[in-house]
Symmetry: C2
Subunit: 484 residues, 2 copies
Amino acid sequence: MAIAFESLYSDIAGRCGKLTVGKKTIRTPALLPVINPHLQLVTPREIRSMGVEALITNAYIFSQSKQYRERALAEGVHKVLDFDGVIMTDSGSFQLSVYGQVSITNTETLSFQRDIGSDIWVPLDIPTSPASDRDTTERELGITLQRLAEAHQVFGRDAPIAGPVQGGSFTDLRERAGREVTDLGFSFCPIGAVVPLMESYRYRDLVSVVMAAKRTLSPSACVHLFGAGHPSMFALATAMGCDLFDSAAYALYAKEGRYLTTHGSFRIGELADLPCACHVCRTHTVEEVRTAPDRDRLLAFHNLYVTLAEISRIRQAITDGTLWELVDERCRGHPQLLAGYRALLDTTATLELRDRVSKRRFFYRGDESCRRTEVFRYQQMLSRLVLGEKVLIAFEGGTRDEFSDTLFFKPPFGPYPKELKETFPIGPSELPDWDDTMVRTGCRGIHVLMESHPDSRFVVLCNPRWEAIVRGELGTIEVRNEPV
Amino acid sequence: MAIAFESLYSDIAGRCGKLTVGKKTIRTPALLPVINPHLQLVTPREIRSMGVEALITNAYIFSQSKQYRERALAEGVHKVLDFDGVIMTDSGSFQLSVYGQVSITNTETLSFQRDIGSDIWVPLDIPTSPASDRDTTERELGITLQRLAEAHQVFGRDAPIAGPVQGGSFTDLRERAGREVTDLGFSFCPIGAVVPLMESYRYRDLVSVVMAAKRTLSPSACVHLFGAGHPSMFALATAMGCDLFDSAAYALYAKEGRYLTTHGSFRIGELADLPCACHVCRTHTVEEVRTAPDRDRLLAFHNLYVTLAEISRIRQAITDGTLWELVDERCRGHPQLLAGYRALLDTTATLELRDRVSKRRFFYRGDESCRRTEVFRYQQMLSRLVLGEKVLIAFEGGTRDEFSDTLFFKPPFGPYPKELKETFPIGPSELPDWDDTMVRTGCRGIHVLMESHPDSRFVVLCNPRWEAIVRGELGTIEVRNEPV
């Protein structure tokens, strides 16, 4: 296979992996900066010196350019762009989504991409807008899948061809697309036409569309979220299992005088200070950037630095098993990202299946933390505990002879036997003072125990502060307030 | 007065201000890097080139140093350190806190600081540990206050002398200290001996101690949080009204191979990637930093960059009126910071008094946002609405003739007349889908209306989804589900 992907570490559904394309290898998650040959605020060589291993450029622009077409065919795209890393080329689909038509066919664009020496080729898929109706979406998905099949027929299954997943805003069509792309044998699968969702802050819909595609894509496929270039949403997308992003934003925003941060964008004119650690921001005042003759280039550098730093932050979070914490941090940056995050938490039962067993820690960051995969998994596991007839669940204090078993209590997880005191997630979890949501969630763990151990009798020993919550969650359970 | 402070913009109790020391001016909030003349991983000149306007060094070290004492007296501390910005000098109090004694008196250290040309002098206050008992704390506070009085007597009220606020962990003593320091006429007031609280993550106690001091300090005093050098807590401290921080951490951490971030510290050995946009992190791999001969210096640069970037981020947040959002972002980074944040939210009624009226926006970031000053203030204001006999509060839909007034509803604020639809906080607030806590908080606004308008009858028109919450919060109010 010309394109191979290997996941090395994972957290939630996110992966740190290795993408192999021919003889080249890149680390994922990765950002592929978009290079427009006609507009290079930052050169590919400069981008390479920032440690970037792959970029994406547009084969259609090359194919239509008097200036670049013949040179690219003669010298190859790597030489023209002066970049020795992985170069992925888009097919003209983007132009199709903007202009409604292109003057190239599927096999023509793929041949051209082959001939200029691109490392990853993209067929002429139809990027159906999420606003399209079902009939249009279904019909266009059919065309896309046909072109993917054609690509394999004409160029062979070993050609380094991407298999984009379309389907607009219909989750069943995204599922179908994921399934058929997988059946066709594609191992590099961009999820396409989500830009309109991101541009209108429809992160809840983005989550449902991406989760749908991921449900049917092979876990061993490398997933590129096409057009995702704003660092504020990389963590959310990674948590769902997206591995690659591409950013034209760093340059397009720069040309409009816009300054990227992981918590949103600013117009340079509205900044009082440069809230960033990058080289541009630590060696210039905001006034200097604003009035610099090379303002756009300075902004493009800044935008790239923060975007690449976010990729590093995500890799570190996956390595540590703290990706939920990063998703929580980023998604609170905009209320609609928070809506997307909450929608992701609705899929915890699905995410838990792929989540890893042990992590560096569990830091409680607010109510949403109660819905993390680790809490869900821990509570599932409780049904497997072997318990005697009379079980004490002690929120505080120790064991007592009259009980066959004493369990302790750590919200939001719930009851635990002392043997688990040091293990993940009980041991390396840190909480502020208990709050209602935390304790209520912990009670759900007691509930699992009660359901799975119908022959045991349970008594909860707790501070009066929690009694109402315990009774509210567990009904008729015996609750004692006194020290046992 | 030798030291003057002016607040230019404010948000919560935080200020963007201008501190004038003699003829020099610095912008606040500001970070004063700590310079140890014997150990300069980064030189003051390099620090100056990063835009740093003030630093702090230790006069006691100079006074005891064979290498530096006479030079500093002859040439002045600015020349010795090669720094033309504001230099603040500590007195030896730090050594007192570590070694229990110092070989210098209060007037000796102040004279020495004067003689080496320091811009801000610190008396030999007693930094009473938060672990000290009440008697010790009270006795040592007495000595500190005596020395502050002596400082003014000997050097005059116009000498640029700081008035540290001590009082250990006793809030009434911190209040007394704040009051007496203010009465003595100090306009530059460090809050001292809080490092042990920060080192042990006791942010809840930090909030109570700082809020106590701030209650009695003059609003026009510039407040320095002594020894606060970790960027993760600057936003929280700024929200309480701290203006200056000092960081030895950038260098001390670097020497231990530790890497600062706004969400915590890492040992360089445990990083898989460098999760930062700074120049060091974008031009080195983690392996290169780890094995570099000048590793400590590289880490010190990185640590400074992120620390200074956080100061910029805070200034921007104050300018925009988004400091609550930044506090929320940072404080969720560690469960004990979250505990501190929640403790700060307990003081909303106090903070609201100084908070500004209009802000750029209100972004909902989770349940804690319901307890922000803007929500509290808005609901207070509701009692001033003029209303007729029969008032409809429409969660959805429009007006109806049978009611004298129709109010709309936007949680977490509550009811609003259409005239306020575009104004802060109703207009520029953005929410994810309504949740229980949000609606419950909005009902408190209805409650304020009902209490303040006993002659009006209120009817709530809402979706069945919210009926139980509305009834739970408002008791016998009439709730209609049908479209009116």
